[in-house]
Amino acid sequence: MDPIIHSIANAMPPQTVKAKTTPQKAHQSFADTLKNAIDHVNKTQILSDKKTEALASGNIDDLHDVMITAQKASITLETAVQIQRKVIDAYNEMMRMQI
């Protein structure tokens, strides 16, 4: 499974948060998983950059390999953006709630 989707799925367990989990702990674990997911997205971007650089300096001879890595990075980034959009939507929904 894709680590980013996996870690985000882990970050939002549906109603299985244990009673003992303090808000601070939950906050920490959410921050960690978010950081890991973003790290993963960043890693794919860095890999793509490195391959492009290697291609430019002549150290790589498979053009399609570079293109595929770039596409993978773009899809991973797009996934991250979509998830971020969803999270912000959810937050806005919460803020609009009448009390």
Binding site: M1, P3, I68, K72, E78
Partner: protein
Amino acid sequence: MSIFHAMNISGSGLTTQRLRMDVVASNIANAQSTRATVNENGEFEPYRRKMVVMEPQEKTFSSFLQKAQNRKALSGVTVSEIVEDDEPFKIVYNPNHPDADEQGYVQLPNVDPLQEMVDLMSATRSYEANITAFNASKGMLMKALEIGK
């Protein structure tokens, strides 16, 4: 990463077809090479036509793991070896050629340019097919991101 599996498989296809293209280019370029190797008698031998042999990529760790889990392993393609064509060389009468024998005949490589052109087109089309498959799998992933938009 399983969501990129199809892309990795298409990538292996692209690599293989590119190697096939390299082999065809070598065959066409050497279609007139009379001095490719030296045989045991110290005489020059013409270039022999090369061919690629392909096989599924089954010797990787992940495919063994999939097999151990009783799952059907979907694998990419890889070139197992490049073999030489054993067909006899073409004999052409040309007594002025430095590599002609006593009777004036020259051995030319067993490369048929027509067949090489067909192989070249086949490699190009297969490359395009792999790219189409890659784009289709990318399209599926991008469509999946549109769910709930």
